[in-house]
């Protein structure tokens, strides 16, 4: 994603004024653009100068606490890939590292799946494997060279961000700050095929859940993504006005 649009995000990125998915997208942009890396390092350096005025002496007890905690905390080993123009391998690792940020979110979403299945103790191993698989799929989408980011506010509050990749034929949906539906209602995700007006379900969140990182499959040939509030378990077709419709083309 080297569009001028992402490039313009450099200032907001350096000020930590972007959301998680934009951060990942921009990290990926940086991994591909050595000149931007220097530029953004300068923005960062500049931004942190703004902290200079905020000097405040912490309570004395903090010193002992920090030193004690540090003494009990193992340190990361040095990381060998840190300088010069990124080799393809370094670049790939940086991509993976960037994707890992949201990979963590992915694991969070997968952990819900895991919790549901927890009662079946003998299925534990399968569930963990699935969770890992889903986290890997999410990483693959975010790291795809053609991944495109779309974001919009929901009617009634909250925000949805969608990253879709045609080559992966999949997308990642991040729902945040939306009002919690009642215990018998659920947010449902939809995709509208190109040239059609009939939405196809792309997944239903658990009833009552308002935060999610979801993997959606089959985004190729889909013109629009939408979210609606449905009875728990979802509907075959939207039964309420969608809260948001995002064009994917």
């Amino acid at each position: 994603m080297t569009s001028p649009d992402i490039h313009a995000l450099g200032g907001a990125y350096a000020l930590d004024a972007v959301d998680d998915l934009e951060r990942v997208a921009f990290d990926r942009h940086l991994a591909e653009c050595e000149a931007c890396t220097v530029e953004v390092a300068e923005y960062r350096e500049t931004a942190t100068r703004l902290a200079e005025g905020s000097w405040s002496v912490p309570p004395p007890r903090m010193r002992e606490q920090v030193l004690a905690r540090a003494a009990a905390t193992p340190q990361l080993p040095p990381n060998g890939h840190r300088r010069g123009v990124a080799s393809p391998v370094t670049r790939w690792r940086r991509l993976a590292a960037a994707a890992a940020v949201v990979g963590v979110l992915g694991i969070g979403a997968a952990a819900t799946t895991y919790a549901v299945q927890e009662q079946r103790l003998d299925d534990q191993r399968t569930a963990v494997a699935q969770a890992q698989q889903q986290a890997d799929r999410i990483q693959a989408v975010l790291a795809a060279p053609d991944a495109a980011l779309h974001a919009s506010d929901l009617n009634g509050g909250g925000r949805v961000t969608v990253v879709v990749s045609d080559t992966q034929d999949a997308g990642v949906v991040l729902l945040a700050d939306a009002p919690a539906p009642g215990p018998d209602r659920a947010y449902q995700l939809w995709l509208v095929p190109t040239g059609s007006t009939t939405p196809v379900s792309a997944g239903v969140l658990p009833a009552g859940q308002a935060q999610a990182t979801e993997l959606i499959q089959g985004v190729r040939g889909r013109a629009m993504f939408a979210v609606s509030l449905e009875p728990a378990g979802g509907s075959p077709a939207p039964s309420t006005t969608p809260l948001v419709g995002i064009s994917l083309v």
């Binding site: 313009a8 995000l9 450099g10 200032g11 907001a12 350096a14 000020l15 930590d16 004024a17 972007v18 959301d19 890396t37 220097v38 390092a41 300068e42 923005y43 960062r44 350096e45 500049t46 931004a47 942190t48 100068r49 703004l50 902290a51 200079e52 005025g53 905020s54 000097w55 405040s56 002496v57 912490p58 309570p59 903090m62 010193r63 606490q65 920090v66 030193l67 905690r69 540090a70 003494a71 905390t73 193992p74 340190q75 990361l76 080993p77 040095p78 990381n79 840190r82 300088r83 509050g157 925000r159 700050d177």
Partner: protein
């Protein structure tokens, strides 16, 4: 404050931060090798800055203390990842501190709550507000002088994001400005600040 190289009305001493900055870089390298004494010294240099920043953004001393502890232990843990080619050690630490603090703000409060809070505080730009700050007066003066050199929109966009922990979308709402405009003002405002503060990163 016409001459940024001097303390206003002061000793005429050049800015102190330069040696301190390279000291922080060196200490971080020592900490990466597990040097406890270096970490203690680093703590003394960094703790008021990290705590001050967290306090300014979180506006709650107890939460700021918890956050500062977390950040400083993280500095110990990840010191080997500091790369002087990507900027100064101080900036590296404050970047970790700012990002974590902002993440905390965002996870704890719904965006609408914060928007209301800030709207209620009537967008008075908070860059000169913290009462008990003591250190680095000269730096502060210079940063302030450079902030004053920005356009109103540039300054508000940058300070709302940095001190308020707001995303550019929230900033656009607060300032009633278009999203692309806010993105651009953040970037060109930082460029102007960078040039005014003579910030340079040489890879």
């Amino acid at each position: 404050m016409n001459d940024p190289g001097r303390f206003p009305g002061g000793t005429g001493k050049p800015a102190e931060p330069q040696p301190e900055r390279s000291e922080i870089d060196n200490l971080l390298r020592a900490v990466a090798r597990g040097d406890d004494a270096a970490f203690t010294r680093l703590y003394d240099l960094l703790a008021p800055r990290v705590f001050g920043l967290a306090r300014r953004v979180l506006r709650d001393p107890a939460q700021a203390e918890e956050m500062a502890q977390e950040v400083l232990v993280e500095v110990w843990r990840t010191a080997s990842r500091f790369d002087a080619q990507r900027g100064s050690g101080l900036s590296w630490v404050l970047t970790i501190a700012h990002r974590r603090t902002v993440d905390r703000v965002r996870s704890e409060q719904a965006a609408s709550d914060r928007l209301q809070k800030v709207a209620a505080a009537s967008v008075h730009v908070p860059y000169d507000e913290v009462a008990d700050q003591v250190g680095s007066r000269m730096e502060r003066q210079q940063v302030r002088r450079c902030l004053d050199g920005l356009t109103e929109l540039q300054r508000q966009a940058i300070t709302l994001a940095y001190y308020g922990g707001h995303t550019y979308r929230e900033v656009a709402t607060l300032l009633d400005a278009a999203l692309p405009t806010v993105k651009t003002r953040m970037r060109d405002g930082l460029i102007r600040l960078r040039d005014c503060l003579n910030v340079e990163v040489t890879p």
